[in-house]
Amino acid sequence: MSETPAAKPPEEPKGPGLCGQFLKDHGIATTRLPDSCNVETIEIDGAHLEAAMKLLRGSSEIKLDYLVAVSGVDSADTFDSVYQLWSYTNNNELIVKVRVKKTDVVEGQLPLVPSLARFWSAANWHERETFDLVGIRYYGHPYLRRILNVWDWDGHPLRRDYKQLVDALNDKAPGSMR
């Protein structure tokens, strides 16, 4: 299960989409990634995340004011924090990714991504969940605490290298998937 997503056939790099252009107009650089199922997908540097989100949420024409989900993905060589943005009023959609290279993460520490929870309440629990399961530390989060696992759980289960500690139950059935 350690295979990585098969590399997609390299697509023609398109110009920035609606939101990318909008952010570019406001001086925030983004990289356009291949669309995921016809939804514009951009990558953004962690440092600009909060400013970009504020712009996207506040502007009257884009108005991406509905944070659907924050997901963490342990990709081949990066940790991705993926934000699905929708709108309550129009049909705009956007996927924002913040990628932290695994090589940049200090040994024994968690990858750092800025938190949105301070100005977007919806992000609060999603970020806690991502922290809990994938192990991305959202700095600036008011209460970054494990939410689904118990507070003293070891490790982050959705990491590809996660190994559950062998307990008595697993001992008896070594072939078990657990």
Binding site: K8, A69, S121
Partner: protein, 379 residues
């Protein structure tokens, strides 16, 4: 004795806030939610929800089971609306895979999902009344109708709650004509039953007293927290994926999405769910009339079922709100990453805001009204 004349007039009675631990083994927390309430007298000042007592690592399982195996598991994510979880994953896989879903399968999906929406709302209605203290009596009436639908589900899917009926690429089984006529009979009598519930509940003075003006959810606050479903529609935000991001055959159907024109309280959330049940019933009627003939699955249902590489997000409108599924596939027989966006999880996050400054008796009235299913929260 010089101090005789000095009388200490400062109040001796010390009042303190009380911490009370509601759940996880509380009869009214719908499963195993734990709320740590800070009470000032009987008034809630602060709430901290503790989740995870039902955590079953559904996302982890998604990475470690084949698609085919995992299909059967995900009904358990939200056990009251299993059709929707199946459908969300099926849609996500179809979007990524690009496979065609036959027309008949889409109609069947809409039909069974709306049936499922009705059962879910019916169960909510019953348990909500229990939350309000009508321990016996009324709560059992919705279960009577729910039972009829569950029997229909059992007939078509072999299961009453964990259907595994909607599959990647289509649906599992073709309904028989007898099944369709049974369903038709149900849709004909169901509006009368809803009238019956309304006759008992909607104008009950105690019910009105308990719900009107309680737990008002401001529109802006709800949007800030990403609330979806009937809870936010009762507060005046028109977001229903069946209309705003139409999928499947919903564009061909005629139905209303009831939206409130003001900030909703618990009573509004009740009344909008009731209206939604009526609309769902209408949708089922139309589906029965317009159901085309043809294939029911566009993908071979085999154990080695594979989804093409890629990533995608798809959502359906579940009884509780936007139920989304984000998958990353690497073309193998199992997901590389699967992430659920559960409406209950997001809707529950607003609970501390709603409970603030309400008496402890309203905790359950408000918590019940946002219709949270704990397995859906904890996954």
């Amino acid at each position: 004795m010089a101090t005789d004349t000095e009388v200490d007039l400062t109040p001796r009675l010390k009042t303190d806030e009380m911490l009370i631990n509601m759940g996880p083994q509380h009869p009214a927390t719908h499963g195993v939610l734990r709320l740590i309430l800070t009470l000032d007298g009987e008034i809630v000042r602060h709430t901290e929800p503790i989740l995870g007592h039902l955590h079953r690592a559904q996302e982890w399982q998604g990475q470690n089971r084949t698609w085919f195996q995992y299909q059967a598991l995900i009904d358990r994510v939200d056990y009251l609306s299993g059709m929707f979880t199946s459908w969300a994953m099926a849609r996500a896989c179809e979007v990524v895979d690009g496979c065609e879903v036959p027309e008949r399968a889409e109609w069947l999906r809409v039909m069974v999902s709306e049936m499922n929406r009705i059962t879910s709302h019916l169960l909510w209605l019953g348990t909500y009344l229990i939350d309000l203290g009508a321990m016996f009596g009324f709560p059992f009436y919705p279960f009577r109708e729910r039972e009829k639908l569950l029997e229909l589900f059992e007939e078509i899917a072999g299961q009453r709650m964990m259907f595994n009926y909607i599959r990647i690429g289509g649906v599992m089984r073709n309904p028989k004509d007898a099944w369709l006529s049974k369903l038709k009979r149900f849709t004909e009598e169901f509006p009368d039953r809803v009238d019956e519930y309304e006759a008992i509940v909607t104008e009950n003075p105690i019910f009105l007293k308990r719900t009107k003006g309680v737990g008002i959810l401001r529109k802006e606050l709800g949007m800030d927290y990403g609330i979806t479903g009937p809870s936010i529609r009762a507060s005046g935000v028109n977001i229903d994926l069946r209309r705003t991001k139409p999928y499947s055959v919903y564009p061909k159907l005629k139905f209303d999405v009831p939206v409130n024109d003001r900030d909703g309280d618990t009573f509004d959330r009740y009344i909008f769910r009731i209206r939604e049940m009526r609309e769902s019933n209408e949708i089922i009627k139309q589906c029965l009339d317009m159901l085309p003939q043809g294939e029911i699955s566009g993908k071979k249902q085999i154990a080695g079922l594979r989804v093409k590489a890629g990533e995608g997000f798809a959502a359906v409108e579940s009884p509780r709100g936007t139920l989304g599924c984000y998958i990353i596939s690497n073309g193998s027989d199992r997901a590389y990453r699967i992430k659920w966006r559960n409406p209950s999880f997001c809707n529950l996050s607003i609970l501390p805001e709603l409970l603030k400054n309400h008496p402890i008796a309203d905790v359950m009235a408000i918590f019940g009204s946002i219709d949270v299913i704990l397995p859906d929260v904890d996954r």
